[in-house]
Point group: C2
Chain length 319, copies 2
Amino acid sequence: MPKDPVTRNDVAEYAGVSTAVVSYVVNEGPRKVAPQTRERVLDAIRALGYRPNATARALRMGTTRTFGLITPDGGNPLFAELAKAIDREAAARGYVVLQTSADGDPLTERAKIAELLTRQVSGLLLVAPTADPSLAGVEVPVIAINRVLPTVSSVRPAYREGARLGVEHLISHGHRRIGLVIGGAGHPERELGWRDALEAAGLAEGPIARATFSREGGYRAAQTLLESQPTAIFASSDLQAIGVLRALHEAGVDVPGDVAVAAFDGTPETEYAWPPLTVVRQPVEQLAREAVRRLIEGEESVDALTVPTELILRRSCGC
Amino acid sequence: MPKDPVTRNDVAEYAGVSTAVVSYVVNEGPRKVAPQTRERVLDAIRALGYRPNATARALRMGTTRTFGLITPDGGNPLFAELAKAIDREAAARGYVVLQTSADGDPLTERAKIAELLTRQVSGLLLVAPTADPSLAGVEVPVIAINRVLPTVSSVRPAYREGARLGVEHLISHGHRRIGLVIGGAGHPERELGWRDALEAAGLAEGPIARATFSREGGYRAAQTLLESQPTAIFASSDLQAIGVLRALHEAGVDVPGDVAVAAFDGTPETEYAWPPLTVVRQPVEQLAREAVRRLIEGEESVDALTVPTELILRRSCGC
DNA sequence: CCGACGCTAGCAACCGCTTTCCACGGCGGT
DNA sequence: ACCGCCGTGGAAAGCGGTTGCTAGCGTCGG
């Protein structure tokens, strides 16, 4: 009984056939193998505990059936959810995903991309990548998620329309002074949606606070926002909304009584916030599915897919 | 300018040397290369945009420098945090990690393990694996995280002592009737810690509610727990604690005024819960570091490492 | 002046698998 | 009886690297 890795040679020898036949059997390919031979080979495989070596196969075939996934932060619930959905989608198609975080740093991102390319990934999924992730000389398909880049195809939620929907809902509750917590530069769409809604309702522009996409950022942003006494706040991400909620609690402001809150993203965390958050939900599964599909099927031209969002009404808006 | 993948052959030809020399240069190995030749090769590499093929190297070397990581649920913030820490730790040592979820299903877990082995991972990290993940015939090092298994080494937080610490703190606030929200079978340690603390203080055993490790589970558990009117609740996971908080809010119970709450895990989410949760923090970075170190350095015997936890005092306990 | 040694660089085998091409035996058709 | 074809299995050429061994050659000591 061979101790170290059992190779196809061992199987061939054990079954008394050539290595080619083992391949034919394993791959169930177009090649025909006599049923009797086939059984002998299968027996040998079972007896020896043979596991085909995907590395060798990849070298020969020229494809690893592996995707690289880079997020700014694997700890962010939204990205974790996205990664999970992508993993499920990829697994269903026989792919596996190398997932890693870039910590929001362009240099790290670049290094990670290089590492993944070295590993011969069959495709690259970039979640909210830096503006210019230097994709020159990349010969595998790349798809950007939640951000559109000039040179590669992308898939993202309907940020602008979604934000507009959320803010419109706040307006429908009678709010006329609606603050916005938004991320740094490079993500203008949600802000535009907010403006769209305000303009359409003929309202004056509300106060804006810029912050990082984090609970901490939302917390601080809300504190400054409070100075201009909005009656409602729209946060451009869950994390920020959670921070907003905390700031409001600490200030003794009642939600939604004194100030209503709604947010973009809609990760599970928001359902259990207090009060439960009204959110514009990112279509995570769909984003994942479309991204993976595009990677596998290969786009010819670069295009940007926008997936509709869903407004989920909970308590924080006053519903 | 070659369009398709630039191989070492192209570089060799371009630089006018043999392929072996290219290897010597790339690997900065013990083999000596004349500085001048070396420069020529480096120039060629730059000019051609050559990227060594890790697949081929892995085949030749017999190691992929890749780890497989299986969690029950990539969407769980604790596991996401762990995965991130593991990724960072692995990346620092030149490894890359294939991360996937088993959805808490033993069959899926088994299938994922097989897939990863086929991919020739250099080691396997199993987070909170099923009781018997059928590891027969696995020739790579395996390490279990957050659960001890009979046949493999493991790394986990001091569940029992940590839980005891948390409950003792609750007791120090004067609570005498302390409920417990615990997961299903197979995770007895936190329950034991809770008992330890109660016994040491000479208190009667408090009410227990079993639930899945989820917000939903904690929510329901708290509802039943409330019937026996505890003055404090210890939740064995963050997620459950979040659910507990919601149940308490809905029941109009003041936290920590009427009922104090503390939990095990301590993911960032708890800091922004309302009120902020007192938690026993899992030493996530350390767990990750130790797990990766063991995988790389290779254990000779199976052993179980316990890493101490940290009590983080916030508002939910009454501090 | 010659031989030996040390420094470089090249040859070629091999990692495990896929796939093309070929060999061979038996069968049916003419 | 012969030819060709079909059904099956085997030999071998790579995929892109690494590395032990060898060869060329300049230099230095005797």
